[in-house]
C-alpha cells in the first residue's frame, strides 16, 4: 500500500486562488455597483432633469412665437393646423416631441389682463418632459441629514405616475387630480421628469424709446440733446432744468431719452440723457455725453407694419380728400357728436392728401364742452410728395388722432401742430410697402419720412411716428416732444428732443416680450 499526500497540496492552492478571486470580485462588484449608481444619477437623472427644463422653455418659445403672430400674422396665430386648440378661454397645443432624447413639451396660453389700450397680457404655462433612461431606481444621495431626502427634494422623478397631476391636477390649480401613468410616445411605461414654467408675455407698445432705428443711425447735431420727462402725474410739463438737478423729484424721469439701434452702424453726436443700445456697434464721437448705459449687444427686430383691422371702427364716408382747407368734425349720430373710443375711433379713408393740404380735426363738443375724441385717418397715398410740399395737420386739445399712410411723408416740422403738447395725441403710422413674392422687402421701394424745420428753425412739434420700414430724416433744429421708430435714422441738426415717458403705455401692441418667468417647483 502507498499513501500519497500530494492531492492535499493541490487543493489548498486552489482554495487560496478561489478565495482571492472571490475577494477581488466582491471589491470589484462593489466598485461597479457604486459606479453604476452614480452614473445612473449623473447620466440619466441629472441629465433628464436639465433636459426637462430645456423642453419647458422650448414650449415657452413655441407659445411665444404664436403669440407674436397675433400681431404680425393674425390669420395664422394659434392655428389648428399647428396643433393648437381653443377651449375655456385658453389656447393649448398638443405635445411636441423633439430632440434625440424624445423630449416633449406642451403649452397653455391664456390672457389674464388687459391694459388701458386694450392690449392683452398673456400667461404662458408650459410643461417639459424628459424620459429618464437607465435603471429604474432612485439612486439618490441621501446623506445630507436625517430629515432630508437628498436629490429627491430637488429632482422629482415620476417612476410610475405623474406626481404633479396626482397632487395638484393638470393645471396645477388643485382641480382634476388623478393618477396618470407615465408613458413614452408609444404608450409604454417610461419613468420621466417634468418641469413647468410660467411666463408672462407683455405687449410692447410702439414708443418705448425716444428713437428706435432698425437700421443705421446718424445724429444728431453736436449741440443736440435727447432727454425725457413725464407729462402725467407725478410728473408735469417739460422742464429743461430737471435733467441736471438730481434733487428734483422729477429727475428720474428726465433721463429716459433712450436711443435703440439695431445695427453696428451708429454715429452718435450730442448728448443723450438716457441709454444707448446698439447691435454690435462701436459708439463713435461723443460717447462721454451719453449719461445712461451704453450696451452694444442689444439686438431687436422691427416687423413690417400692416394696416390694423378696421372692423370695429366707426367708418365715416367723408371727407375722402384733404384739400387746402379741410376740417373734420365728428359725425353726429342721433343728434349727438360721436366721440369714438380708443378701440373704436371714428375712421376716415382718404385717397388724396394735397401737397398744400391743411387738415384740422376738431373734437366733439357736447353741451359746450369739448370731449375726448378719437379718430383714425388712413391716407392711401403720400402726405407731401416733394421738398416743396407743405401739408399741415392741426390737432387741438381733446383730439386723439392716428394717421396711417401707405406712401411717404414730407412736410415742415412746424406744420405738425398739436396744441395739447402731448405727443400721444398725434400718432403717425407708416404702413410698410408691399413685399416681393418671396416675402422679402422690395429693394426698389424705399419709404421715407422727411421733416424739415422750415422757416422757424426751432419750431417743433409734439407727435410720435411709427415707421419701421421708412428712412427717417430730420433737418434743422426743431424742438421735438415725442418718439420715432424707423428703419434708418438721419438727423444733422441741434435738435432738442424730449421723450415723454407717458408714451411708455401709449399705442397698440406692436410685439410681445417676456416680462416674467417663474418655475413651478412643486
Amino acid at each position: 500500500m502507498r499513501i500519497s499526500t500530494q492531492s492535499f497540496a493541490r487543493g489548498n492552492v486552489l482554495l487560496c486562488v478561489l478565495c482571492t478571486i472571490l475577494v477581488v470580485s466582491l471589491i470589484g462588484a462593489n466598485v461597479l455597483l457604486n459606479c453604476i449608481t452614480r452614473y445612473n444619477v449623473a447620466s440619466s437623472q441629472v441629465r433628464s432633469w436639465k433636459e426637462s427644463l430645456d423642453a419647458a422653455e422650448t414650449g415657452g418659445d413655441i407659445a411665444y412665437a404664436e403669440l407674436r403672430k397675433t400681431i404680425s400674422d393674425p390669420a395664422n396665430a394659434f392655428s389648428p393646423s399647428n396643433g393648437w386648440t381653443y377651449s375655456g378661454g385658453a389656447y393649448a397645443n398638443s405635445p411636441v416631441t423633439y430632440g434625440q432624447d424624445n423630449l416633449r413639451t406642451s403649452s397653455r396660453v391664456d390672457p389674464f389682463y388687459y391694459d388701458g389700450n386694450g392690449n392683452a397680457w398673456y400667461r404662458i404655462r408650459t410643461k417639459g418632459t424628459a424620459p429618464v433612461l437607465g435603471l429604474k431606481r432612485v439612486g439618490m444621495d441621501d446623506r445630507m441629514g436625517p430629515n432630508t431626502r437628498g436629490d429627491s427634494l430637488l429632482r422629482k422623478i415620476d417612476f410610475n405616475y405623474d406626481h404633479f397631476v396626482a397632487t395638484y391636477g393638470p393645471n396645477g390649480d388643485g382641480v382634476g387630480q388623478t393618477l396618470v401613468p407615465v408613458v413614452d410616445a408609444n404608450g409604454n411605461p417610461q419613468p420621466q421628469i417634468s418641469r413647468r414654467v410660467e411666463l408672462i408675455a407683455a405687449p410692447m407698445t410702439p414708443f418705448e424709446a425716444a428713437i428706435k432705428a432698425g437700421g443705421t443711425f446718424y445724429g444728431l447735431g453736436s449741440a443736440a440733446y435727447i432727454d425725457s420727462y413725464r407729462s402725467t402725474p407725478p410728473g408735469g410739463p417739460y422742464d429743461a432744468s430737471v435733467k441736471t438737478n438730481p434733487s428734483d423729484p422729477r429727475y428720474p424721469d428726465s433721463r429716459s431719452g433712450t436711443v435703440e439701434i439695431n445695427s453696428s452702424v451708429a454715429t452718435i453726436q450730442g448728448s443723450i440723457y438716457g441709454n444707448l443700445y446698439t447691435n454690435g456697434g462701436t459708439i463713435t464721437k461723443k460717447t462721454t455725453s451719453i449719461f445712461g448705459i451704453i450696451d452694444n449687444n442689444v439686438p431687436f427686430s422691427l416687423d413690417r407694419f400692416a394696416m390694423p383691422s378696421t372692423a370695429g371702427w366707426n367708418y365715416v364716408s367723408s371727407p375722402t380728400m384733404i384739400t387746402p382747407n379741410t376740417t373734420i368734425n365728428p359725425p353726429v349720430v342721433n343728434g349727438v357728436p360721436r366721440t369714438g373710443t380708443p378701440q373704436s375711433p371714428n375712421y376716415y379713408l382718404v385717397t388724396s392728401f394735397a401737397n398744400n393740404g391743411n387738415l384740422t380735426v376738431n373734437p366733439a363738443v357736447i353741451g359746450g364742452v369739448a370731449q375726448e375724441t378719437y379718430l383714425a385717418i388712413h391716407v392711401t397715398g403720400d402726405i407731401g410728395q416733394n421738398t416743396s410740399s407743405n401739408p399741415t395737420i392741426t390737432v387741438p386739445p381733446h383730439v386723439h388722432l392716428e394717421v396711417y399712410f401707405d406712401g411717404n411723408f414730407q412736410t415742415k416740422a412746424e406744420n405738425i401742430i398739436n396744441t395739447s403738447g402731448y405727443a400721444g395725441n398725434l400718432q403717425f403710422y407708416a404702413i410698410s410697402p408691399p413685399t416681393l413674392p418671396n416675402g422679402a422687402p422690395d429693394p426698389s421701394v424705399q419709404q421715407t419720412v422727411n421733416l424739415n424745420s422750415g422757416g422757424g428753425s426751432t419750431s417743433g412739434f409734439s407727435a410720435v411716428f411709427y415707421t419701421p420700414s421708412a428712412n427717417f430724416t430730420i433737418n434743422g433744429a426743431p424742438d421735438i416732444t415725442g418718439a420715432i421708430v424707423c428703419k434708418n435714422f438721419y438727423g444733422n441738426g441741434n435738435v432738442h428732443w424730449h421723450y415723454d415717458r407717458a408714451l411708455d403705455t401709449a399705442g397698440d401692441a406692436v410685439d410681445y416680450r417676456i416680462l416674467s418667468y417663474v418655475e413651478d417647483i412643486r
Binding site: 502507498r2 499513501i3 500519497s4 499526500t5 482571492t20 475577494v23 471589491i27 462593489n30 466598485v31 457604486n34 452614480r38 444619477v41 449623473a42 441629472v46 432633469w49 436639465k50 389674464f112 389682463y113 391694459d115 397680457w121 400667461r123 444621495d141 446623506r143 445630507m144 441629514g145 432630508t148 437628498g150 436629490d151 427634494l153 430637488l154 429632482r155 395638484y168 396645477g172 390649480d173 388643485g174 410660467e198 408672462i200 407683455a202 407725478p234 424721469d253 441709454n275 443700445y277 448705459i293 451704453i294 450696451d295 449687444n297 442689444v298 439686438p299 431687436f300 411708455d504 416680450r513 417676456i514 416680462l515 416674467s516 418667468y517 417663474v518 418655475e519 413651478d520 417647483i521 412643486r522
Partner: protein
C-alpha cells in the same frame, strides 16, 4: 516488519520552514497591504463620486433659483448668495391661506402694475428670500427662514458665486470645489482640479 518511508513525504527541515514562512509572510503582507490600499482607494473614489454628486446638486439648486430670481446678490467672500424669487405658491401663513386654507400649495394669479420704472408683474406684494450659505461642512439653503441642508461633506465643499449685472441683464457665475479626502500633498491643485462651473441668467432680466 520494517516500515518503508518515502523521502517525498518526509518533514521539512528547519531551514525549509524558515524560508517558506518568510516567503509566506511577505506574500501575506503584500496581500494585506494591497487589500487595504484597494479599500482606501475604493473609499476615496466612492467619496469623490459622492461629493461630486453634491457639487452637481448645489449648482442645480442655485441655478434653479437664479433663473427664476428677481434680484441676486453675492457676499464679499462670494460664499453666500441671497436672492429674491417671486412668491408663486401660496404658503401657510400667507393672507390667502388664512382666508382659504385650501389654497395652500396653489399658484397665484399674477397682477400687473405700472410703476415709474415701467411695467411690473407681481405674484404677491412680497417676494420670497432664498439664501445659500456655508455652515461647517454643510451647504444650507434657507427659504423664508426654513433651512434645508442641500449638501454635506467632510471634503470641504466650497461654492463661490459671482453676480454679474450688465446694463439690462444679469447672471450668476458659480464654481464649486472640494478637497478630496486623499491628497498627494498638492492640496491647492487638487482642490482646483475638482472645480465645477455654471452660469445661469436671470430669466426675469432680459435684454430688449
Amino acid at each position: 516488519m520494517k516500515l518503508k518511508t518515502s523521502p517525498s513525504i518526509a518533514g521539512f527541515t528547519l531551514s525549509e520552514m524558515l524560508v517558506s514562512l518568510s516567503l509566506s509572510s511577505i506574500v501575506l503582507a503584500a496581500a494585506i497591504t494591497c487589500g487595504i490600499s484597494l479599500q482606501k482607494s475604493f473609499n476615496a473614489v466612492d467619496n469623490y463620486f459622492s461629493t461630486q454628486m453634491q457639487q452637481i446638486r448645489i449648482i442645480d439648486y442655485l441655478n434653479r433659483d437664479v433663473k427664476r430670481g428677481l434680484v441676486v446678490t453675492t457676499s464679499v467672500d462670494l460664499q453666500s448668495v441671497t436672492m429674491s424669487v417671486p412668491k408663486y405658491i401660496i404658503q401657510a401663513g400667507d393672507p390667502e391661506a388664512i382666508a382659504d386654507p385650501e389654497s395652500i400649495g396653489m399658484p397665484r394669479t399674477p397682477t400687473v402694475a405700472y410703476t415709474t420704472s415701467g411695467w411690473q408683474v407681481n405674484y404677491s406684494p412680497s417676494t420670497t428670500t432664498v439664501v445659500y450659505s456655508i455652515s461647517g461642512n454643510s451647504i444650507l439653503r434657507t427659504e423664508n427662514g426654513v433651512v434645508t441642508t442641500i449638501a454635506s461633506s467632510t471634503d470641504q465643499l466650497v461654492p463661490k458665486s459671482t453676480d454679474v449685472e450688465l446694463s439690462n441683464t444679469e447672471y450668476a457665475n458659480t464654481s464649486v470645489t472640494f478637497l478630496p479626502i486623499f491628497t498627494s500633498g498638492g492640496a491647492v491643485a487638487e482642490r482646483t482640479g475638482t472645480s465645477m462651473y455654471a452660469t445661469a441668467y436671470l430669466r426675469n432680466k432680459r435684454r430688449g
